[in-house]
Amino acid sequence: MSTQTEHAEPGVLKKYLWSTDHKVIAMQYLFTGMAMALLGGFFAYGFRMQLGFPDHSVPGLGLITPGKYNALVTMHGSIMIFWVAMPVLIAAFGNFLIPLMVGCDDMAFPRINRLSYQVFLLSILVLLASFFVKGGPFGGAWTAYPPLSASGAYNLTPIGATLWLVAVALEFVAFLMGGINFTVTAMNSRAPGMKMYDIPILVWMIILANVIFMASVGPLIAGAIMLLFDQTMATGFYDPTRGGDPLLWQHLFWFFGHPEVYVVLLPAMGIVAEIIAVFARKKIFGYKMVLYTAWAVGFLSFVVWAHHQFVAGIDPRMANIFSITTLLISIPIAEMVFLYIATLYGGSIHLDTPMLWALGFVVEFLIGGVTGIFLGSSGTDIYLHDTYFLIAHFHYTFVPIAIIATFAGITFWYPKMFGRMLNETLGKIHFWGTIIPFNVIFIPLFITGIAGDQRRVYNYALFAEQSRPELQHLRTVSTIALLFMLAFQLIFLFNFFWSFRRGKEAGANPWRSATLEWTVPSPPPHGNFAEMPTVYRGPYEYGLPGHAEDFVPQNVPD
């Protein structure tokens, strides 16, 4: 069956800015997400410079006042989660890979796909606009608790607060549209012969992430409307003196906020799964178990949210319940990690750059997960909440998700996307230059956190009981490590752009992978498959005895 799409070559504008081709939309999301990552990283540089060298003017930002500090941390957190992790892990990889991996020519609804990027871009424009309004960008933390976020008199960034809220709401709409499109495509548009358990794990993970997102964001959209009205229309939804309750926002936010972390985690784990299978030349150990644990995580993620609110004054009986569920959820995640390790065992391991990133993910995420136990138990959390221990914990989970898994995915699928190989040597230098400084940034923060350093404080010198100059060297070490980590990203950027033209030509399947996206040219043409494939087997048939090659692609007849 040949594709239905025969048409004249479109002009530049239509090809790159108005395209409905899922691969072009994927690139739009990827490049936008990468640009926002630079911005988010720059903001981290800003506030870490203040923390490492308090009250010194920061090159490129000037003196960091309390208001500026609050805006920097708020923007860093918001940007990294909503405008880097989600667009890159879900929208970029999902858009590029899902139609290819399930064997069809595009998403089920290409124009909705295009619209989703346009709404996403609008959300970024709204966010960037907030940098230029009176008062500057929102400074009430990415969690936006009222009354701070509801009252301009408190947050001192009234216009920024509303613009931020609108930007987040638009981002939600974009991802609802995109996510539902992906889900319908994966459910309906699969190649003939691709049954449920023949679908690559990454596709499953992205779909599950989309479903989790869709089911959890609804109450927050409701809550955001209420906050918007509190900000702009003098309502009192979150004002206890007017019949409202600030805790309601917290609950609505975290009801979404906790599933959200799994929304970004699952695609990351999916990317790692794909890479491990290819570079260990071994099928995923316990494919179905990986799915079942992912579904279990997905469901459990909806009943753990109040562990973010243990010290907020919630009903203590709730704290008991949420402690138990939170500790429970560590089990399926650990199980998934064990399955990946079991996949490696006995495999023929090739330590190419993508594999280094995938293994790095497993190691670093393990640390993040284990440190979460102390925070998930309400007793210890009373001490550790909102300290740097918490910050180090969630960076040991988020950085593997948003940075390590992203680099794993980019280095793995770059040949398919751009038709060229990235430079391996530069890739390895970039890997070590990111991983080592990353640990040097956050291990000292575990220590300062346990010692009592509170988060969201721009200068400890102003608070007598918090001012512990003996810890300052740890804070400074952390900042210097960040500078190294940021510097090494230049190597990645150079490699990425230089290899566009000067990288070795990749061919269709440089990694010798068995999934469908590697059966088409690199980069794939419009319509993807010259002839629509039929699928005969699962996605990880490596090391089959009696075959000339050590892998059999999904679309090769028996």
């Binding site: 069956m1 594709t3 239905q4 799409t5 048409h7 409905t20 139609p99 069809c104 020519d105 595009d106 998403m107 089920a108 609804f109 290409p110 609802l176 539902i180 499109n181 889900t183 319908v184 495509t185 459910m187 309906n188 548009s189 699969r190 691709m194 869709m214 089911a215 959890s216 964001v217 609804g218 109450p219 927050l220 959209i221 409701a222 809550g223 409307i225 209420m226 009205f229 229309m233 003098a234 309502t235 009192g236 939804f237 007017r242 019949g243 409202g244 309750d245 309601l248 609505l252 009801f255 629509m532």
Partner: protein
């Protein structure tokens, strides 16, 4: 890609449900949690604030009941449109969809009248807990009615030419969902206050 050329991805059906209807069900699922979240927030506040009964007594039950009748009737038109579309009678389906839209318009006009009198009586969005929720709930619902009407008119334009008839059922499903939300809003805001 021309406006009507669909990708193969759109025409396949691994689940047995056509892609258009499948995406409609997912949209409805996402709307359940949006309205559900807002409704849950309202209900817990309302139960915790029995003194809101006084404010709540000022909503116009007859306007609410009439609007319920209007939406139920428009849902009837929507499902009859679906039946016509299944019989491949595009022009009849289009006519019935336009009638459904008309129902939506009547609903919004009644609501407009209702709100005008409420505001004239001094009850605005910021008049207190009950009114904030009332306007937000009914307003969000009203926006969905408006969006539904617009989409419905677009679908009926195609249907009149016997094109994209599968969309008649889909916009109907969305409309029935909007009707069901109102079926619960009506008692919450107008009778069991």
């Amino acid at each position: 890609m021309s406006a009507t050329a669909k990708p193969i991805a759109n025409t396949r059906s691994g689940t047995g449900i056509p892609t258009a209807r499948l995406i409609t069900w997912w949209v409805i699922a996402s709307e359940i949690v949006i309205f559900g979240g807002l409704l849950a927030a309202y209900v817990m506040h309302r139960i915790g604030h029995p003194e809101w009964a006084d404010a709540a007594s000022h909503t116009n039950t007859w306007a609410g009941a009439f609007n319920t009748f209007v939406l139920l009737t428009s849902s009837l038109c929507a499902v009859l449109a679906h039946k016509a579309a299944d019989a491949r009678d595009g022009p009849r389906a289009a006519k019935l969809l336009r009638l459904t839209s008309l129902g939506g318009l009547i609903f919004l006009c009644v609501k407009g009248y209702e709100w005008t009198t409420d505001i004239r009586d001094g009850f605005v969005l910021s008049s207190g807990g009950f009114w904030s929720f009332y306007y937000t709930l009914a307003g969000l619902h009203g926006l969905h009615v408006l969006a539904g009407m617009i989409i419905m008119l677009i679908v009926s334009a195609d249907a009149a030419k016997n094109r994209e008839l599968q969309r008649v059922e889909c916009i109907g499903l969305y409309w029935h969902f909007v009707d069901i939300v109102w079926i619960f809003l009506f008692p919450l805001l107008y009778i069991a206050r």
